[in-house]
């Protein structure tokens, strides 16, 4: 198990979480909340958000990492450096928290619909867990995602997203 604390501002990003590829077949626990699992190629294949929350203010974004380094992951020119745990849900801004996600999907389509619906289904009093999985990769680019929402240990909803 590796891990650490993500940075909040541009000048304090955690470099151990900001490399690509990550360590192979590793689990990274970040802030005691986000657990990233990597595959044999160092790609994040699964992430569990153990207790989704939407704090304010949001974490500062790392636009260079989002728009440039995510391209290393075999992304298409039409992909965004999409957050796995969203910026609004305090997702880290280091490289470990990005997948190449189809731009329209990330900006108003399937992925954003999923994020918005999860925000609606969760509430401040519950403890909601989300498991994000990549079903298959082409190079370092995910083809399909499976996102499961739990209220405590009770399953709520699955989202299947094509990328």
């Amino acid at each position: 198990m590796a891990g650490g604390t993500p940075g909040r501002y541009l000048n304090d990003f955690n470099q151990a979480l900001n490399v690509y590829p990550a360590l192979k077949n590793m689990e990274y626990e970040v802030n005691g909340r986000f657990v990233y699992k990597t595959d044999a190629n160092g790609n994040v294949s699964e992430m569990t958000d153990k207790n989704i929350q939407y704090p304010t203010p949001v974490r500062e974004r790392n636009l260079t990492e989002e728009t440039t380094n995510s391209k290393k992951k075999g992304s298409k020119s039409t992909d965004a450096g999409g957050h796995i745990a969203s910026n609004e849900a305090n997702g880290p801004s280091e490289q470990i928290n990005y997948w190449p996600i189809d731009g329209p999907s990330n900006s108003g389509g399937a992925w954003r619909n999923m994020e918005r619906e999860i925000k609606r289904l969760t509430n401040p009093t519950g403890t909601f867990k989300i498991i994000y999985k990549v079903k298959s990769f082409t190079g370092g680019r995910p083809d399909k995602f499976e996102v499961d929402l739990y209220n405590g240990t009770t399953f709520v909803q699955r989202f299947n997203i094509d990328n």
Binding site: A80, F155, Q157, N160, N163
Partner: protein, 251 residues
């Protein structure tokens, strides 16, 4: 491809289902072409009975089958469907139905329509403006989106602490490309396409009975890109500001 009856046999023998004495119901809803929600539960009461995470090894086979069928029939107006419901009885008998769930379709389209200005705002701040130092110099960005004679028009200004306005040219191509209907678009083209899509669904589409007619949206975007719908979003019809009851419903 595996035949549907073989898929049913695989589902009947799903070893992750521990209680074989109860009816099992699986439902998948297609939210457009790329997003599907799916749920599995015992009994016939969705609200009260315990839901189960579908066993991916088993249900992914069914999903692949349904995705292919959905793609083949997406433009079929006669047999239009967006939902598939399957009931598996304890004796193994299966009943399934393909149907069009208007309410859920309307729900997701309404959520997307409400989200439109929010998505545009975060996209402008987070993907179009790369210089974060520049971001800190404005108090907000004033973005006017207008539809005239079927065409989309934008005007974008940043406003600083001294209330000085600076016109922002969003026609400048950034690095982010958007693939829409086989065309590569940059920021301005993508959001003009999305504005016209939003106009169409709220005027002539499934939301025409919910949404008041409009032809202009004005948003005031704070530096973090997150809008407050009660303060930062205004809809207009012919320069008359509209009451917000129609799009605030549900917030």
């Amino acid at each position: 491809m595996i035949d549907y009856n073989e898929i049913l046999n695989i589902l009947r023998n799903d070893s992750s289902i521990t209680d074989k004495s109860k009816e099992l119901i699986y439902e998948i809803f297609f939210v457009g072409e790329k997003l599907k929600t799916n749920t599995l539960w015992y009994g016939n009461d969705y609200q009260t009975d315990k839901k189960i995470a579908p066993n991916s090894e088993v249900y992914d086979i069914l999903i692949s089958f349904l995705e292919k069928k959905y793609q083949e029939e997406i433009n079929n107006e006669v047999n239009r469907w967006n939902t598939f419901t399957l009931k598996i009885q304890p004796n193994g008998q299966c009943n399934s139905i393909y149907w069009y769930d208007l309410d859920t379709d309307k729900y997701y389209k309404l959520q997307s329509a409400k989200d439109f200005p929010h998505a545009a705002a975060t996209n402008l701040v987070n993907y179009h403006f790369f210089d974060i130092k520049f971001k800190r110099k404005f108090t907000h960005i004033h973005w006017t989106m207008e539809v005239k004679n079927g065409e989309a028009f934008f005007e974008v200004y940043s406003i600083n602490k001294k209330n000085q306005q600076l016109l922002i040219d969003i026609s400048v191509n950034g690095t982010q490309l958007y693939l829409v209907e086989g065309k590569n678009l940059y920021f301005e083209g993508f959001w003009k396409y999305k504005l016209l899509e939003h106009y169409e669904v709220t005027h002539n589409g499934i939301l025409k009975d919910v949404w008041k007619p409009w032809n202009k949206i004005v948003i005031n975007i704070p530096p973090n890109g997150y809008l407050n719908e009660k303060e930062d979003i205004e809809y207009y019809l012919d320069d008359v500001k509209l009451e917000k009851d129609f799009f605030l419903r549900g917030y």
